[in-house]
Every structure is written in C-alpha cells, then in structure tokens.
C-alpha cells in the first residue's frame, strides 16, 4: 500500500519540543567541517581570472606564459569546457557564466583559471595570462537597459511572451502577465487611487561562508567533489552534464553550510575546479574570496516597479495593477515573473493585472534569494496599500483584513485558494500588544503582509536500526537551518522512542537516492514526510520480526509507544518488545532492520506572514534604528519551534539589512564598487532588536503532521513593513530601497523643497 501523506490530528511527544541541535557543539567549537575545511593529499590551489570590464568581447587569451611558470599544473579557458549542452539554453547559460566564451558580460565574469602548487604561484600565474579585450558599452541599470538605445548584451535575444515576435533584439528577455477582471473598469469604481513608482537595489544573500570545493577527477573515469551547497544531487547532475561525466561516477559530498539562502542552489566555480583537476591530474581546491562572492556569484535582482491600486471609501479594493521590471544579470530568468505572480497574492481582488519584464544587464547572473523576487514586489504593493488606507482614512490592518484573500478567493496568479492563513496572521497581528505600544518623537510603526508559494519535491531517506536499538536516519537534503534535529524529532515521534536515540546524517550522492535541493522551504517539509514513510516501513519490518520472535501471526502484533505488542487473548502474557529487544536478535530473525522511502513531496501549500516594525529615524543624519520587530507566520506544525523562530528571525534580520543598508554600488565604468562587508553593510547584532515571533499552527492537509515550509516567507514582508514604518516616522513616502541615511536625507530635503 502506498504512503498516504494526508494530515491526521494527533498529539505529539517529541515533535514540538526544543532539544539542543546535534551539530551545535561542532559548530561552536570549530570542529564542523565547512567547504574550505576539506583537503586531499596532493591537492592544488585553484584560482580564477575575472574580467575587469563590465562588457567586453574576448578577442584572444594567451596562457602560454602562465603555463610555463614553475609550479603551475593546469591553465584552462572556455576551450577546456566545451559546449556539451545540446541545445539546452538554461544549461548553456550556466556554462557561459562559469567561464566566459565569446564575451565577458559583467565585472568579475570568469575568463580563465589556473591550478598551481600554492596560492602564491596561482596568483602569479593569473597575472601572466594575457587577455585581449574589446571593451564594449555596458548597462547596469534596469530602467536604462530597457531603453531601445541601451547597449545590447546579446544580439540573439528577442523579447519572449509578446505577439507578434519582435523583429529587433532587446535586453528585455521575456514578458509575463497575470491577473483577471477588468482593471480599467475597476479603477473607475474607486473613490481613491494611489499610483507610485518604486526601485530596489541589488542585494546579495550575504552568506558568511564563501563558495568552496575540492574536486578530484581520476584517471579511471570516477570523480569526487566536496562542496558547500544546498543541493549536492543537483550539483552532481549539472557538473556531470557540463563536463561530460557519468552521473553515477561523480560522487558529491556536501559540507556543513555557512548559509545559502538560495545562493548555493546554483553552480559557479565547481565545474571550473573539476576541469582544472581533469587537466592537472590532481585534486584541486577552489575557494572564492569575499570579493569574488560579491562580484561573481548570484545576487538578487535590482528592480523598478510601478503599482496602482484603487479603493472605495468603504475599504474595498476595486482594482490593482503592477508593472515589474527585474534585472537578471546577463541571462534570462523568471525573476520578474515570480514578482508578477506573488505581488498581489495576499488579496482578494476582483480586478488585477501584473506584468513582468526580465531585463538583461551587465551584472552577475541573478540567483534565487529566499522567496526569490517576492520581497521587492511586496515592498511596492504593501507601500501603496498603506498609503491608500491612509488616504481613505482606514486603519491599515483593518484595510488589509477587509481585502485579505481567503478560501475560495481567486488568487492574483490564477488558481482559487483552498484553506489559507493570511487572515489569521493579520488578526493575530491586530491583537498583538506590539500594535498598541506607544511611539515617541521621530518614531513610526509599519506593518506588511507577505506571501510565498513553498514547494516539496523529490526526496529519499533511509532509516536504519542499529544492533543496540539506536537509529540512524540518512537524508539527502542539506541541513541549512537545523533540519537534522527536526528530522530526528520526527523519526523519534513516529517510532515512539526518545529523541536521543536517533542520529540524523546527510548522505553523499553515492549512498542515497536522488534528492532535490534544500530550497523552496522544502527541507523539513519534504524530508520529514519521507522520514515518516521510512519509519512506518521500519515499523512494519519490526512487527514482522517481533512476530517471528513470538512465533505468532504478524497481524497479532501492533506498534505502540515504541514497542511491539501482541494483541488478542492468546498472547496477553507476552511482554512488549522494544526496538532494542528486536534489534538485538535481528541477525537471527532476518538480518538488518531498515525502512526506506522514495517519494515526491508535493502539496506544500502556500504560506503567509504579517510583520510589524517600529523604527526611529534621526532627522539630522537619516539613520534608522529598528526599535521593535514582530513576525507572525503560520508553520502548519512547528517541528522544532526554536528553529522555526530562528527562520522567522533570520528572514526579518536579512530583510532589515536589505531595507536599510545593503546594495550593490556600480561605478560609471560598470564595475562593482563595494565587494566586501566593510562597504556592503549587513546588519550586525547591535543593529537589531530581539525579534519577537508568534507561530501559528494551521495544519497543512497534505502532510501527516500538518507541517509547512517556513524558511522563506519571513523575508517577504520586511522591506515593506520597514518602509511603512520609516515613511510614517518621517512623514515622507519612501520609494527606494535601501533606505540608507543619504537616501532618507535626500527624501526629506526634497519634501522640504516642495
């Protein structure tokens, strides 16, 4: 019989408790091995030569001097990574991004790489590589890139999603559209309309651990890769495809991960390290510097967004529209489309239309960043929602509650919602003491809602019972936010044994079936579902073994509270058998005891959050201090509440940095001016208050315990909540993220000049 993932109400013993995380001691004592902590005998040092130009044709690369330098074992260019993508344009873009072919498309684009006996020799070798560039005009601004007069990144890109197909190439790679109803008719019904333009600057996920890997391509056709990643199975498939390796002969082992947030769902340097190792015949270690991480891994989009919303005096929204232009770097994506899908997803709208434009610019290839594209759209929409509420004289929370999507609402991206949690988060926020706390001079309060899809995906787990009755749970989803503890709790719950009896490990690609990445808030949602399935299979085996031990039919054996129990009058005097009792004689009752599961964990369910924020703005300096911050979000069922709170707090913290300080600053030359944490300022502890959280538990009907993903939604509302708070504090609507001190001072100055 197949596994039924449907929710059934139950009481929990282990799930919902807060044990100490099993990886905690290693991490705080420095024993945990991150990407750069792995070493192999005879390994070489890999280094990448990067374009100093934002846009340049590569006329010639001469590597001969570098190759002659003593200690250099391999030098590669794009010629060493031939195009094996067979017409797969997405894979070709990845290949071209890993090593530029005809053109360098952004400052930092890889053009060559070396492997040498030490870092000094590798650096010297890079200096000896001669690249003849034809520097081309560049464009880094999303609005400028959309103009017909803008320098073209690709002569071969014609805007998709428009009919008829354009005859001229463009930096607009694609147009997408969502919505329903008649917005023009809706705006005519409105008593008040607010229309504004917004911009958000490009930000990086800012994970503390840079990309790092050790690659070893062996002469027998096997290869190994140790790497910091959110998805080693996907890295294996993509690297194997780009290098022409057999998937099964490339073994990828994930390290501990010092943050990913979407940025480690994409390959960057790994194919380069493998190509270097293949050429050198020795292992190659390649670790990005922080500067390289900023210049050449994937930040999120810079955006330009126009929003128009109309409402009647009674607070009913009559129409809403948005045009969202998102930068993609040099290669197309679906970033604006995700913005177009999510922008109005919190609301019940009769007339709505969103249009997304994917815009190519001379910046690094855009990558996913925690609920990708949704925070910027929410910033623009929730700002206008707030302003419109003020315009019609309605409390902003009541205005949102009045227009909130509910079961049966046709979502702005198309489908009709089933049971959803936006209403409960808003009502919880409305009742929260934070909403009634007094504010002082130069202080303001803002709130905002956020939506994210969440998804599941392919998942595989093994659950093995040891000879002493302890349990090893082997999973293939990288533990980014504490999932090993959460999955141990789930295994303990299902088996009916103590948490301490379960050890969860993350397997390499050679020892477990394929798993999708830890992205889309799917890690604990998907792997807990597979863990429950595997545990139930293991219980089935243990019931059979107990039946053999007792010499009774298996149908007379049930599993209760971690024990096999014989049922029926005939067996009433048989003492229950624990996991340890059954495991102790496993060799004689049929051999090893295990439960396995391979499934597709679909039905993750959409997710909503509401955030409240208080700020104080110094009118002299423009500096903003976050005074108080509250996150309300539905977790379905919080498996390990401390980690759920951690995800809520982490999203809010990242959002605070994004809202107030973080931005990629490009010079006139198209080169990144601030590729380091000194000039690209992420929030530190002293910038943040204690972020309060409120976990709602509205069970997900498509998970046995009701679990929902919680990793991403918490970054959707902060930009908007903080922008509303700052706008309320200074009395000027802030429309440009980040709201850095100079930008706030400029907005105040402009207001005074009016």
């Amino acid at each position: 019989m197949g596994f039924d993932p449907s929710y059934s109400a139950r009481t929990f013993t282990s799930v919902g408790t807060r044990p100490v995380r099993p990886d905690g001691v290693d991490k705080v004592t420095g024993r945990a091995r991150y990407g750069a902590d792995f070493n192999m005998p005879g390994q070489l040092v890999g280094r990448i030569l990067r374009s100093p130009h934002a846009h340049a044709r590569i006329r010639r690369i001469d590597t001969s001097k570098a190759e002659k330098l003593k200690g250099v074992k391999a030098v590669i260019t794009a010629a060493d990574l031939p195009d094996l993508t067979n017409g797969d344009s997405a894979m070709y873009d990845i290949l071209d991004n890993c090593m530029a072919r005809q053109k360098a498309l952004y400052d930092g684009h890889a053009v060559a790489a070396v492997a040498a006996i030490d870092a000094r020799t590798a650096r010297q070798a890079l200096e000896l590589i001669e690249v003849d560039y034809e520097v081309l005009p560049h464009v880094t601004d999303v609005d400028e890139a959309m103009k017909a007069s803008a320098p073209l990144l690709h002569e071969t890109v014609f805007t998709g999603g428009v009919d008829p197909k354009p005859t001229a190439p463009s930096n607009i790679a694609n147009r997408s559209q969502y919505g329903h109803g008649d917005i023009e008719a809706g705006f005519k019904e409105a008593d008040a309309v607010v229309e504004r333009s917004f911009k958000t600057e490009q930000t990086h996920q800012g994970y503390i651990e840079p990309h790092a890997c050790v690659a070893s391509v062996n002469s027998d056709g096997t290869s190994e890769l140790w790497v910091c990643t959110q998805g080693h199975f996907v890295y294996r498939q993509q690297c194997a495809a780009l290098l022409g390796l057999d998937v099964s002969k490339l073994r990828v082992t994930p390290s501990e991960i010092g943050g990913g947030f979407g940025g480690k769902t994409h390959i960057w340097a790994e194919p380069v390290a493998l190509a270097l190792s293949r050429k050198a015949g020795r292992p190659v270690k390649l670790v990005m510097s922080r500067e390289e991480v900023f210049r050449a891994s994937g930040p999120t989009s810079a955006t330009s967004i126009e929003v128009k919303i109309g409402a009647r005096k009674d607070g009913t929204i009559t129409a809403a529209s948005a045009t969202l232009s998102y930068s993609c770097g040099p290669y197309g994506g679906m970033w604006a489309e995700l913005g177009a899908m999510t922008s109005f997803a919190c609301y019940n709208l009769k007339n709505v239309k969103t249009v997304g434009y994917e815009v190519l610019v001379n910046r690094p290839k855009t990558a996913a960043y925690r609920a990708p594209s949704a925070p910027m759209a929410a910033f623009a929409v929730e700002s206008v929602i707030d302003e419109l509420a003020q315009k019609i004289g309605m409390n902003p929370v009541e205005f949102r509650i009045r227009n909130a999507a509910r079961q049966g609402t046709k979502s702005s991206y198309g489908p009709v919602y089933g049971p959803i949690g936006i209403g409960p988060t808003l009502e919880a926020a409305q009742k929260h003491p934070h909403m009634k706390a007094p504010l002082g001079k130069n202080q303001g309060r803002g709130m905002a809602c956020g939506f994210w899809f969440n998804f599941g995906g392919q998942t595989c787990t093994d659950l093995n019972i040891g000879a002493d009755g302890t349990v090893t749970l082997t999973v293939g989803t990288v533990d980014v936010g504490g999932s090993r503890a959460s999955l141990s709790l789930v295994a303990a719950e299902e088996l009916g044994i103590p948490y301490a009896q379960v050890q969860t490990v993350v397997a390499d690609t050679g020892t477990l079936g394929y798993n999708d990445m830890t992205d889309g808030s799917r890690g604990t949602f998907s792997s807990s579902m597979a863990t429950i399935s595997a545990a139930r299979n293991a219980i089935g085996v243990m019931r059979e073994r107990a039946a053999r031990m007792w010499d009774i039919p298996v149908d007379d054996v049930v599993w209760e509270d971690g024990h096999a129990r014989a049922v029926g009058e005939k067996h009433g005097n048989l003492s229950p058998l624990s996991v340890r009792d059954i495991a102790a004689v496993a060799a004689k009752t049929g051999g090893p005891i295990a439960g396995h599961s391979e499934l597709v964990a679909d039905g993750a369910g959409v997710s909503f959050a509401t955030h409240i924020c208080d700020v104080e703005v110094d009118p002299e300096t423009g500096a903003t201090r976050i005074l108080r911050y509250t996150v309300v979000q539905d977790a379905g069922k919080a498996v390990h509440p401390a980690y759920v709170e951690g995800q809520y707090q982490g999203g809010a913290a990242q959002g605070i940095g994004w809202a107030l300080n973080e931005e990629y600053v490009y010079g006139e030359d198209g080169c990144l001016q601030n590729p380091g944490f000194l000039d690209y300022r992420v929030p530190v502890c002293s910038d943040l208050p204690m972020i309060d959280t409120q976990i709602l538990e509205i069970p997900n009907p498509n998970h046995p315990y009701g679990v929902r993903g919680v990793g991403e939604t918490s970054i959707v509302p902060p930009l908007a909540a903080i922008a509303n708070a700052v706008s309320n504090a200074v009395g000027v609507r802030m429309t440009h993220i980040p709201m850095s001190p100079p930008r706030i001072l400029a907005a105040l100055e402009a207001e005074r000049a009016h």
Partner: protein, 81 residues
C-alpha cells in the same frame, strides 16, 4: 474531461487559448494529451510545469488524480531559495 486554465505565455503557445478541455484522469495523462493536441506546449512541459489542483500546487506527481469539477491551473515551474 477536465477544464485546464493556462497561464499567459503558455496560452499563447496553445494558439491564444486560456482554457482547454482535455481528456485526462491524472497529471501524466494531462501532459501527454496536451503535448499531442498542442505540440507547441511540448517544450514547456519538457522544462517543467506546475499543476494547481483546487489551489494546491503539484510539481512532480504524475500520478496525482484530477478530480472532476476540480479547478486545474497550469503554472510555470517555480524557483525557490
């Protein structure tokens, strides 16, 4: 027979139709029959399409049944972080 709603650019590939009637009992049959009836949808299906059934989004489960009278909406395959 189920009624399927397509998102914008997918509708363009189906000759401008936003709603299609398709004989299909599960997601596998839906994709197979869509690709047969509208060959231009083939590349989209190959790249991956998510299927929303009564508001719940499925990305990979071919065997998921399509209940009669269910709202079935095709969406682009989503990226996550």
């Amino acid at each position: 027979m189920v009624e399927v709603t397509l998102w914008g650019s997918l509708g363009a590939a189906a000759g401008g139709k936003q709603k299609l009637e398709v004989e299909a009992k599960d997601i596998r049959e839906l994709f197979r029959n869509l690709a047969e009836q509208y060959p231009a949808l083939g590349p989209f299906i190959e790249r991956g399409i998510a299927v929303s059934i009564d508001g719940v989004i499925y990305r990979d489960t071919w065997s998921k049944e399509l209940p009669k009278d269910a709202e079935i909406f095709l969406l682009p395959r989503l990226a996550g972080g």
